[in-house]
């Protein structure tokens, strides 16, 4: 049987790409490691290497084809001893996606939901997982599924730091269906409560498309379920006036030679980080043995990306200037949307800011991103009537809602932080000090 060459996923979130160029033609002999094609995603062009050796039997997707789905069959490779006759009747249908990360969004029938993935690295051609022996051993000991992780070693090899990052972030746990994985009890509990796609209720519901859960979706589901279930959340809400802040923003952005564009959100990131350094009791994580009080504010910013959300982190945000913050936030958000963040850029963080202001949301509550102790939800800035010195006036007001983990932050502590934050936002010159 000829070997199938499939459209590779060049990043964990890649779903399709353009086949920019074939570097081989039918009849060419290739060895493992030879560059056979160039694939273009929205941002980069990357080379595809042959995994096996053989002769290119048939090219099925022409050069220049746009939007080729990940895992689509793009060529057939004849193995040693095979000739073209082997191509006849060769299976040119792409195999079912073998890793959830590479699932295509082809409409799946309800009964064709993806089977649970085995924990052992698949040996299927083109789906090899590169990992270090030490990474494999720790993954096995900790019940992590290597397939759910992305590697940062040479050529995407999964190395110890990736495992450490996954353990720290609580991601990448093998699903309970994997026999040799020791899934954490809480994961089992939460998984069991999720309704099955086979549940009869769906027969009574209208027709639907089943979008397989991506890894990102699974992580969101698991962590937020755990958070909502295990963390006693409470909320504190405050209105802040941002007219002065907007004036300052305008002034800064219109300075000659400004190589930055500071957004209202950048101001809020700065103010929140500073307020946290002033009330460090809110920059904390609750653990079984102790409350960890962080010596630095690493601010996670919720960014909506296709298929979910991700929280890139601005490290040591309190000590960075507004221009630096703005540029860093812009870069992180852009790369987040392109799926180009390194794990250390979105794992960790001591606090999160989520902003739905651009959608006109007035106020909302967020679920804490564990192990962090708090998250700030930012609503839209809008003109509202306010009472000043007994008279009615108009001000631009934003409603901020803080959700905190009551195990480590009490009401008065949260209020002290909110007070600091409001003062900083309403007197934004203080941010520049």
């Amino acid at each position: 049987m000829p070997i199938q060459i499939l459209m590779p996923a060049l990043s964990p979130t890649m779903e399709e790409g353009n086949l920019a160029k074939w570097c081989v033609k039918e009849g060419d002999t290739v060895e493992s490691g030879d560059v056979i094609a160039e694939i273009e995603t929205d941002k980069a062009t990357m080379e595809v290497e042959a995994v096996d050796e053989g002769v290119i039997g048939k090219i099925l997707v022409a050069e220049g084809t746009q939007g080729v789905k990940v895992n689509e069959l793009i060529a057939l490779l004849l193995e040693d001893g095979e000739d073209e006759s082997a191509l006849e009747g060769a299976d040119t249908a792409a195999p079912a996606p073998s890793a959830p990360a590479q699932a295509t969004d082809a409409p799946a029938k309800p009964d064709a939901a993806p089977a649970p993935t085995p924990a052992a690295p698949s040996t299927e051609k083109g789906d090899r997982i590169f990992s270090s022996p030490l990474a494999r051993r720790i993954a096995a000991q900790e019940g992590l599924d290597l397939k759910a992780l992305s590697g940062t070693g040479p050529r995407g090899r999964i190395v110890k730091r990736d495992i450490d990052a996954a353990l720290a972030a609580g991601t990448g746990k093998a699903t309970p269906a994997a026999p040799e994985a020791k899934a954490a009890p809480t994961a089992v509990a939460s998984e069991n409560k999720t309704i099955s796609v086979d549940d009869p209720i769906f027969k009574l519901l209208p027709d639907y498309d089943a979008i397989p859960n991506s890894n990102m979706r699974k992580t969101i589901a698991k962590r937020l379920t755990e958070s909502a279930r295990d963390i006693p959340h409470f909320n504190l809400q405050v209105d802040v006036e941002i007219d002065k802040l907007m004036a300052l923003r305008k002034e800064l952005n219109s300075r000659d030679g400004a190589d930055y564009k500071i957004s209202v959100n950048d101001f809020l990131v700065k103010a929140t980080s500073l307020a946290l350094t002033r009330v460090p009791d809110c920059n904390v994580a609750f653990t079984d043995g102790a409350i960890l009080k962080f010596k630095r504010v690493d601010m996670a910013i919720a960014v909506a990306v296709e298929g979910g959300l991700i929280t890139p982190i601005i490290k040591d945000a309190a000590s960075k200037g507004l221009a630096t913050l703005a540029n860093e936030a812009k870069d992180l958000a852009a790369r987040a949307r392109d799926g180009k963040l390194a794990p250390e850029e979105y794992q960790g963080g001591t606090f999160t800011i989520s902003n739905l202001g651009m959608f006109g949301i007035k106020s909302f509550n967020s679920i804490i991103n564990p192990p962090q102790g708090g998250i700030l939800s930012v609503g839209a800035g809008e003109q509202r009537p306010v009472v000043k010195g007994g008279a009615l006036a108009v001000a631009t007001v934003v409603t901020l809602t803080l959700a905190v983990d009551h195990r480590c932050i009490d009401g008065s502590t949260g209020a002290a932080f909110i007070k600091e934050l409001k003062a900083l936002i309403e007197d934004p010159i203080a941010l520049m000090l």
Binding site: S132, P133, L134, A135, R137, I138, Q141, T152, G153, P154, R155, V159, K160
Partner: protein, 467 residues
């Protein structure tokens, strides 16, 4: 683009700077290299290389003295210090010239002068106190290295109290020699002068010699060197040096008690200080860390945008290969190469070319335990290795430290013949993150000293064959 505008400017042509410049040029960046004195830096001219040349003479001399052990005759074995030094200088010169060729081949533009940051991506280059050009670049890499440290009361004078600079070009072998500091540099000179007849005493403030090494290994090395007649005083401070025409009297203090010893010469090898003065760091807004080195992040970026620092000037370990590796990371990050990661310092091997040699990578047994690891430790002595016996070098030890839980190789420590050539085997293993299992499955050629690496791993798991 004018000829003073570059994609990358590197200041200092040591193993940090020249490697960075070559890599930058390879990546297609227009690159300038500014060097005040000598291509190749301390390493090629006054450090790693000339010391190794001197020590090679010492090693051969030692072998010749023991020729009879091998059934050979060598009468009237003698040496000519001037020729030994001449050879060492020649080796340095040859390699420094080689660096010049490499830079030329890679089209790196070399400026012979002293570079100083002016801020705003500008660098002045002066010669004989006069600025002859000003270069500019968005990326300036400071690789200015380090120099010998001196303590009050122990200042070198170049005549009776030497630093490595004088010790590398001696006119005669001192009859008696006091070496202050038992790090790699001090121990290597102590060995060299001892071999050629000096009565050598090494004083170390800490409790063991070569204090960064595993305690068991440093104790082993100390014993072996004592057997050859070298003297060590650990836990001892040199309080002062009194110079007279006929020698230097050193006052030593240990646990409150003082004693004096009189020697011909003193070598101070108490560490290095970074060359951070008068290079415009303040003008550019570059901050230092608490130890006085330039503070950098994982990609060698300093606190000032567009200014980077690598090698000795950017902090310990002050080793040539660390400088070169940082150079590659720094330059590749600048060029936007993918897959660039910060240097993992636990993967930097350290070597000392004394007799017997010492080499290590990763955590010592104590450091591993202090970090909370439960460890498995393997040991294999040279005595049990056929090649070591055949070489007539049966003194030595290979020690390995594993994390009991995961089988991660945390550290490897060796003392004995040629171990400086063996250690990189464990370096590769650690970098590839092999566990004990992969090391056990590796086939080691027989007969080689490397078999002891295998046996040491086996021993950690109670499976050693030859011991």
């Amino acid at each position: 683009m004018s000829d003073t505008n570059f994609d990358v400017i590197v200041v200092g042509a040591g193993p940090g700077g020249y490697v960075g410049a070559i890599r930058a040029a390879q990546l297609g960046l227009k690159t300038a290299l500014v060097e005040a004195k000598h291509l190749g830096g301390i390493c090629l001219n006054w450090g790693c290389i000339p010391t190794k040349a001197l020590l090679r003479s010492a090693e051969i001399y030692e072998h010749m003295k023991h020729a009879a052990n091998f059934g050979l005759g060598a009468k009237d074995v003698s040496f000519d210090l001037a020729k030994i030094v001449e050879r060492s200088r020649g080796v340095s010169k040859q390699l420094s010239g080689g660096v010049g060729h490499l830079l030329k081949k890679n089209k790196v533009q070399v400026f012979d002068g002293y570079g100083k940051l002016l801020g705003g991506g500008k660098l002045s280059v002066e010669k004989d106190g006069k600025v002859f050009t000003t270069l500019s670049s968005k990326n300036i890499i400071m690789a200015t290295g380090a120099r010998a440290k001196s303590f009050p009361g122990l200042e070198p004078d170049g005549k009776q109290v030497w630093t490595y600079m004088e010790a590398l070009v001696p006119n005669e072998v001192p009859k008696s020699l006091l070496v202050i500091g038992s790090g790699a540099i001090g121990i290597e000179f102590a060995n060299f002068f001892h071999t050629f007849g000096a009565d050598v005493t090494v004083v170390e403030a800490l409790d063991s010699i070569m204090p960064v090494e595993d305690a068991e290994i440093s104790a082993f090395a100390k014993k072996a060197m004592e057997k050859r007649g070298m003297k060590f005083k650990t836990g001892t401070l040199v309080k002062k040096l009194d110079k007279a025409a006929d020698g230097v009297t050193a006052t030593l203090e240990k646990g409150g008690k003082t004693e004096t010893i009189k020697v011909d010469k003193v070598i101070t090898a108490v560490g290095v200080v970074p060359n951070v003065e008068n290079i415009g760091l303040e003008a550019a807004g570059v901050k230092l860390d608490e130890r006085g080195f330039v503070a950098i992040d994982g990609y060698c970026k300093t606190s000032a945008d567009g200014v980077y620092a690598i090698g000795d000037v950017a902090g310990a370990p002050c080793l040539a290969h660390k400088a070169s590796h940082e150079a590659i990371i720094c330059v590749e990050k600048i060029a936007g190469v993918k897959d660039v990661h910060p240097l993992d310092k636990s993967l930097i091997p350290g070597c000392t070319y004394c007799e017997p040699q010492v080499a290590s990578v990763g955590l010592t047994e104590k450091a591993a335990k202090d970090k909370g690891y439960k460890v498995k430790v393997g040991r294999f002595p040279f005595m049990g290795n056929g090649k070591a016996i055949a070489l007539g070098a049966p003194e030595g030890l290979v020690k390995t430290v594993f994390d009991e839980k995961t089988g991660e190789l945390l550290g490897a420590h060796m003392v004995g013949a040629e171990v400086t050539e063996l250690i990189q085997g464990f370096g590769v293993a650690k970098t590839l993150e092999t566990t004990e299992a992969d090391l056990m499955h590796t086939v080691f050629p027989h007969p080689t000293l490397s078999e002891m690496m295998h046996e040491s791993v086996l021993d950690a798991y109670g499976k050693a064959i030859h011991f």
